[in-house]
Symmetry: C2
Subunit: 335 residues, 2 copies
DNA sequence: CTGAAAGCGCTTACAG
DNA sequence: CTGAAAGCGCTTACAG
């Protein structure tokens, strides 16, 4: 029973065309009539029905943020911080945001012409069918990671530089036996982290020991605690470890506690992405910082450009990372 | 350029009415025709335009999840865990979900007939105008907290019972000087926590000391570290503290570290809501558990009932809380 | 069982 | 400057 454009036209004694014109600020309405119409709009508290408008303009005014593996990702601050940026930037636009956290929702959302464009959050290779995505025929931006061989622009951290700085920071403190706690190789983020780790070790003249590389299924989760604590109980030589997410680093801290290994005295730990909670922990977590909020903002602004038919100059928008020294890193204990 | 119902009708040699009927599973179409239509739908990969359907059915098929103070709340696991439940339950429905994290988005979302109903996430009193909410004329469910004097059903934890269990747990371990780190009184959650704290102390024969009650602006944030660490540096008698969120408890852990107060040796700490990260911390955080995922699910199922015109039997859906003993609580040190 | 028609709330050429 | 009309993609009485 909400008031429609007809009600406004009736009360103002004009046609709905004129009402529509003042609504969209189009010319072709006399100053006085426009004034009267505006008044009636206020009086009646009229609000345009976006669905109806969308139908004729063939634009919904909505964008989608799709998060595959929602239940894994939701509790990861890497996600919520980027989402914070997305939300902030959204205020600068006219778009509403639809979100999906499961494949069921994803499909419903993307296949029903409910959105003008989509932001894919850290998708993994082969998780989403490239053909399906292309068949959607809407602009798509990937944020937080990128998809192999994909035609979609992405916004992501400079992972390789990040891990390079982590490893180097440990090296500079005197560490020579440095491990890597990584996510799954289906994520390009992990792939890059691995590559960067390998490359940096080599360039520092250290040899890589596969035994010190841990590959977990997820960037969060409790599995890391089990795996790493078990390892630490039998190991005496690894003095530092770099992780491909802060969440994994928190797991390593827990693992160290269980294995009775003290941080940073016996083991130095560095996370990645520097989520807000990192500096809040005890001890506070050393990490490689990246502007996650800025990444979220960037993703939205790129997507709106695309939706408005503009061309993008760059396909990759890479955000710099820099090491932040906090409480979980120190000089290795002499043995 | 996507395929419409017309294209299907044309290719199948029937009217759009028949196509529409098979689409919605309505009777009145011959078995053979229906079969043919279904085939064409598949061939063409036709998907109904939800916006158009919504226009005539006067139902959008969307619900809103509105999160005031988004940037504060986004990084709070209390939120993301409930959202996880919301997302899970959404799979059982036909609804898409729109989210808003700022007042700008909120207004745009709720005033433009874009949704059939809304879930308000932990709103504070006077943050949202009750008149405005009522004028929206859509079903509304409040989750995570509740609004004073509001006509909206709510889904929330049994806060008073939670804090009662926290205080009692400390008491049973021998603590007699127990503080409270609380959120702002504009949140009913804090109000209830305060009340429950006061009541429990009294019933245990302890006297309340206002000096030990800390009221913060937010349930997360770094302010708590500053305030509590300062206090701890001058205080020698408080041996335990209950917090109205796990996030605040993490802040207290940090504060204790700064003040050189050891947990749980010198100070026992209990959080609230038992978010996933609680058990993951070092030491793991004692808390009062509540089924946050279940709360999210419940909110969705109640909202869909309302949207479908059903009546709700209860206005308050209160989830039980129970104490979980972990690493941050112990016997007070003798002095 | 089947289709022509009206209508949901808008926008936008097209006339005047 | 202004309005009547067509149309966006659907659903649903209403006839037949």
């Amino acid at each position: 029973m909400s008031v429609s454009i007809k009600d406004v036209a009736l009360k103002a004694g004009v046609s709905i065309a004129s009402v529509s014109r003042v609504l969209s600020g189009k010319p072709g309405v006399g100053a006085q009539t426009a004034e009267r119409i505006k008044q009636v709009i206020d009086e009646l508290g009229y609000r345009p029905n976006l669905g109806a408008r969308g139908l004729v303009k063939r634009k919904t005014g909505n964008i989608a943020v799709v998060v595959p593996r929602g239940s894994y990702i939701l509790n990861n601050p890497f996600f919520s911080t980027i989402l914070d940026g997305i939300a902030k930037e959204l205020d600068e636009t006219e778009f509403n945001m639809l979100m999906s956290f499961t494949s069921v929702q994803q499909q419903r959302l993307l296949e029903t012409q409910a959105v003008d464009g989509a932001i894919l959050f850290s998708p993994r290779n082969e998780e989403l069918s490239m053909d399906w995505l292309k068949s959607l025929a809407i602009p798509i931006i990937v944020v937080g990671s990128y998809l192999e061989d994909s035609p979609f622009p992405c916004v992501r951290p400079d992972d390789e530089e990040g891990v390079c700085q982590s490893v180097t920071a440990l090296f500079d403190k005197g560490h020579r036996t440095i491990g890597l706690v990584n996510g799954p190789m289906s994520s390009m983020h992990s792939v890059r982290y691995y590559k960067g780790y390998e490359r940096t070790l080599k360039s520092l003249g250290l040899t890589m020991n596969k035994e010190l590389v841990f590959e977990l299924d997820e960037f969060d989760g409790g599995k890391v605690v089990e795996v790493v604590s078990q390892f630490l109980q039998g190991n005496q030589h690894m003095t530092g470890v770099v992780c491909s997410s802060d969440f994994l680093a928190i797991g390593v801290m827990k693992a160290a506690d269980i294995a009775n290994v003290s941080i940073p005295h016996d083991l130095s730990v560095i996370g990645a992405d520097d989520v807000p909670i990192a500096s809040f922990l005890t001890p506070s977590l050393s990490s490689v910082h990246v502007d996650l909020v800025g990444m979220g903002r960037k993703a939205v602004s790129l997507l709106t450009q695309l939706v408005e038919g503009e061309q993008l100059e760059k396909m990759e928008h890479i955000f710099p990372m820099y090491y932040v020294d906090r409480g979980t890193t120190g000089t290795p204990k002499k043995k």
